[in-house]
């Protein structure tokens, strides 16, 4: 994921998009390097699709610049930019065969007929859809249509591939399968790719880097691991995965007062002043129990409230005996659960390891 040279492949500078009084994108600045797979992730209405459409030139931003390979493309119409796009609906031309759909862009480049035929055959091979050339889109399954759309977008050899929720119209099984295939294809041909999705699992499994968006701003940019383990804000912590939120007051650089208990923390942002209200976040799987909790900081005795069985693990909702009454969720794998008594009402010893805890200013 290292940049080939100093110029990022795609760069947005203070991109802002307004619809009347509503600000859909608020000063978005980001850089994407060549061959990178980036996901725009966020809840619906967060501006991720608006940003993608601005990059494509389909809905040009109100202000701010976009550079592709150092070229200012901010005001250019889509036809003068260099990208291929796959929409959620695929937008395959229903009255053209698969072959004609894929060849559509090539025909505009005045490529010789023979060469087009060959290229189309190769592309369909590449997306794993040989021998379907003469069918119409309506005769294909959703997953197959998706591949045709991908082949069509790649046919003109664009430098940038834009994917707008490409998998959300498919069943769960096909989706998981295609996720893997798209990622593999992308690294094989090495095309810089931006994918918009609201599905965190999709983003975590496919992206080199994730751009988490909310209310028209970027909450965090980072690798899937960074985003998950060091969320930059409570929003990110909440949106990706599950998190316990605990309110407290910053007592010192190393501790937070929650109710009457003192919780040890490993580090805290310099911008937070002692005495301010904070929120502590810790993931349910990072809370330890039983033997493992011994000799770990922040021991909290808690009573089991209720237990949800979620397949490979149990999510246990617990009431700490001390503190301000905030419930804690902890995840216990099925294997571990055999060693622990999970009867409702049982008291368990929990430990909140300080190095897995993140501290945020309250109200952020």
């Amino acid at each position: 994921m290292s940049a080939e040279n100093d110029v990022p492949y795609l760069k947005t500078v203070n991109v802002t998009k307004k619809f009347g009084d509503f600000t859909a994108l608020d000063n978005i600045s980001l850089e994407i390097v060549e061959k990178e797979f980036v996901c725009f992730l966020g809840p619906s209405g967060c501006g991720k699709t608006t940003l993608l459409r601005a990059i494509a030139g389909l809905d040009i931003q109100t202000s701010g610049q976009i550079f592709q390979k150092g070229r200012d493309i901010s005001a250019l119409p889509p036809a003068e930019r260099d990208f291929g796009i796959v929409f959620q609906s695929y937008a395959l031309f229903p009255n053209l065969t698969v072959r004609r759909n894929v060849a559509y862009g090539l025909e505009n480049q005045r490529t010789p007929k023979k060469q087009i035929e060959q290229q189309v055959t190769d592309l369909l091979q590449l997306v794993g859809l040989p021998e379907q050339e003469d069918k119409y889109p309506a005769q294909l399954s959703g997953g197959q249509q998706q591949r045709v759309a991908l082949a069509r977008a790649l046919a003109t050899k664009p430098g940038l591939l834009l994917l707008d929720e490409p998998l959300s119209a498919l069943d769960a099984k096909v989706r998981t399968h295609l996720r893997h295939e798209i990622k593999e294809l992308q690294s094989k041909i090495g095309i810089t790719t931006i994918m918009v999705t609201h599905d965190q699992e999709e983003a975590l499994t496919m992206a080199d880097r994730i751009v988490v968006m909310n209310n028209g701003i970027i909450e965090q940019i980072g690798t899937p691991f960074e985003i998950y383990s060091e969320p930059a804000s409570p929003f990110v912590a909440d949106f990706i995965g599950t998190t316990n939120f605990i309110k407290g007051k910053l007592a010192s650089r190393q501790s937070v007062m929650v109710g009457s208990i003192d919780i040890q923390i490993s580090d805290v942002a310099a911008s937070l002043s002692t005495g301010s209200d904070v929120v502590l976040c810790i993931r349910p799987e990072d809370i330890l129990t039983g033997e493992r909790a011994r000799n770990v900081s922040n021991q909290v005795e808690s009573v089991i409230g209720h237990v949800e069985f979620l397949g490979s693990f149990h999510r246990v909702h617990m009431r700490p005996l001390a503190g301000d009454g905030t419930e804690l969720m902890i995840d216990i794998s099925v294997g571990r659960a055999r060693e622990i008594d999970l009867t409702v009402g049982t008291t368990l010893k929990l430990a909140l390891p300080s190095d897995h805890m993140n501290v945020y200013p309250s109200g952020s």
Partner: protein, 566 residues
């Protein structure tokens, strides 16, 4: 936001691409067409109504004369009276008819649906002529009127009910077929009686359909010219008044004033209808379950009886028109003859007027479909240029609010003006084509918009990313996918161009006389049987075109099955 960010917050002006330039030029061209075809002529009409015969501005003088001359203003009241009466009657009949077709289990629904559409194929003059053969001075069942005259309000109401029945019935039919069975089930489960269910579920869900049907019927009737022309007798209504002022008395100023009096209620009804339509949110969610009627012998029989009666009346009127066109001398010599079809021996332009009509209808269908569809495409699918698109959209809606007679008369004022360089069009086939396309523009435009809205909005985006010019995608994807709608539009334009009288009655010349005008003129001259014969030629042609359209659509469906259906 940092200092530098503020300085960079310059608004980006999107660069105009070649596609955008072509699209905007095309849109401006079509908008200009509409300006010349509707806006300027209407302005000419309006200004004429404020002028004296020699062209000086006289303010409201003409209007004051109009309102203070009882012989003239009388027709306002007349028009409203017959229109409201006919509207109410047709609403009731069409409601029951549509109710029978959607909510009963009576047999032969397809046949009854077909019969209900027959009046669409006729110029409104024809049913009126048939009424004369039934109830006129020598009518076979004149006695059924108990001594009353068919010439007058009775005839007008009867003719109008027949004429607008298919339009009203279709609106109600669509509205009734969009009801959610789950509401009926809920009502039944809650123990509501059938009557209570009708008032608490059925009627509220038909609210918008009924209001829309009311306004459509009202507009069609108040602006119709054919029926009152034939059976109106001495009972003046606004539509016949316009004609009388212009053709009979050559009083163009008063013609313009009466036209304005006719334009107002029509435009008002149109605007009211649009407002109501806008309020109508999707009553039928995607998860709704269509209502399936359950057999109920008694109810089904009553409904069947009602539909048989109405169907019989429609067929009887058609049969009478056909019959009267082939009898030697009604009612004295009923032997069959084809002599009434020998149009060259009568006034009205002879067979050439029939062929002129075919020519008019063909040009209207061809050019009208091209202009309407391309215009709708530009409004729906072009990028940016919001003001242009909104203006264009508004222009496209205006023709619907303008009665045919008013449109035709406004063309006289605009194109016959000595200073108009386009004056050479006057009295030619092209002006008839332009006027007819304009007259039926809105409905055609709306069906094109509906078809275009059903297409994936991303087709244009994809083709831009593939660097394909918009016209290529328009030609290779949009048009082929919309062929059924395009055929519908062309058929609609063709049939209406065949049957319309009102828009063209002021515009034809001896070289461009039309079949529907010939019906009018022959009836005027007392040649009712030849008039009926020419009317039947129109019916047969329109029916033939509908049949051709049906076969084409079906053939097309078979050929495109592979990509239209899974």
């Amino acid at each position: 936001m940092t200092e530098s960010a503020i300085s960079q917050a310059r608004t980006i002006k999107p660069k105009i691409s070649k596609d955008d330039v072509i699209m905007r030029l095309a849109m401006v061209t079509i908008a200009l067409y509409l300006l010349f075809a509707i806006a300027f002529p209407l302005y000419a009409l309006l200004s004429k109504s404020f002028q004296s015969a020699d062209g000086t501005f006289v303010g409201l003088a003409n209007y004051i004369t109009y309102l203070t001359t009882p012989a003239l203003s009388w027709s306002i009241g007349n028009s409203f009276k017959v229109t409201l009466l006919a509207t109410l009657i047709v609403l009731v009949i069409a409601f029951i008819y549509a109710y029978a077709l959607t909510r009963s289990c009576m047999p032969c629904k397809g046949i009854f649906k077909g019969i209900a559409l027959i009046p669409i194929l006729m110029p409104s003059l024809l049913p009126a002529i048939a009424l004369v053969f039934f109830f006129g001075n020598q009518g076979i069942i004149k006695s059924w009127l108990f001594g009353a005259e068919i010439y007058g309000p009775i005839g007008i109401v009867m003719g109008e009910v027949f004429y607008v029945f298919p339009h009203v019935m279709t609106i109600l039919l669509i509205s009734m077929s969009l009801s959610d069975a789950r509401l009926y089930e809920a009502s039944e489960v809650l123990g509501a009686s059938k009557i209570k269910t009708f008032f608490s579920v059925t009627l509220p869900s038909l609210r918008y359909g009924l209001v829309s049907a009311f306004f459509v019927a009202f507009t069609l009737i108040i602006t119709d010219f054919g029926v009152p022309k034939v059976v109106g007798g001495q009972y003046n209504v606004l539509a016949t008044d316009v004609y009388k002022q212009v053709v009979g008395r050559h009083d163009f100023q008063m013609g313009a004033v009466v036209s304005m009096a006719l334009l107002f209620p029509a435009a008002f009804a149109f605007i009211a209808d649009r407002l109501v339509q806008r309020k109508q949110v999707a009553l039928l969610s995607a998860r709704a379950v269509p209502y399936q009627p359950k057999p109920d012998r008694m109810f089904d029989m009553i409904m069947l009886g009602f539909c048989c009666l109405i169907g019989f009346i429609i067929l009887a009127i058609l049969a009478m028109a056909a019959f009267s066109s082939v009898v030697t001398f009604w009612p004295y010599n009923l032997t069959l003859t084809t002599k009434h079809y020998n149009f060259n021996l009568m006034d009205g332009g002879g067979w050439s007027s029939y062929f002129n009509s075919i020519e008019l209808a063909s040009w209207t269908a061809i050019f009208g479909t091209i202009i309407v569809f391309f215009g709708a495409y530009l409004v729906e699918k072009s990028r940016g240029f919001k003001t242009g698109r909104t203006a264009m959209q508004a222009l496209c809606m205006v023709p619907m609010a303008v009665p045919g007679l008013v449109l035709g008369l406004s063309y006289v004022f605009f194109y016959n003006h000595p200073d108009n360089p386009l004056g050479f069009l006057y009295h030619t086939m092209p002006i008839l084509v332009i006027c007819t396309i304009t007259h039926f523009y809105t409905v055609a435009h709306l069906s094109a918009v509906t078809a275009l809205k059903q297409m994936d909005p991303e087709f244009e985006a994809v083709s831009q990313s593939l660097k394909a010019p918009f016209y290529k995608t328009f030609w290779r994807v949009t048009v082929p996918v919309c062929v059924p709608a395009i055929l519908d539009i062309s058929m609609y334009l063709f049939v209406n161009a065949m049957t319309t009288v009102s828009a063209v009655v002021f515009l034809y010349s001896t070289d461009t006389s039309l079949a529907s005008v010939a019906v009018l003129n022959m009836d005027d001259a007392g040649d009712q049987s030849p008039a009926a014969a020419m009317g039947m030629m129109i019916v047969v042609t329109a029916a033939g075109v509908r049949l051709l359209h049906m076969l084409l659509t079906r053939g097309l469906q078979r050929r495109t099955q592979a990509w239209r259906h899974r």
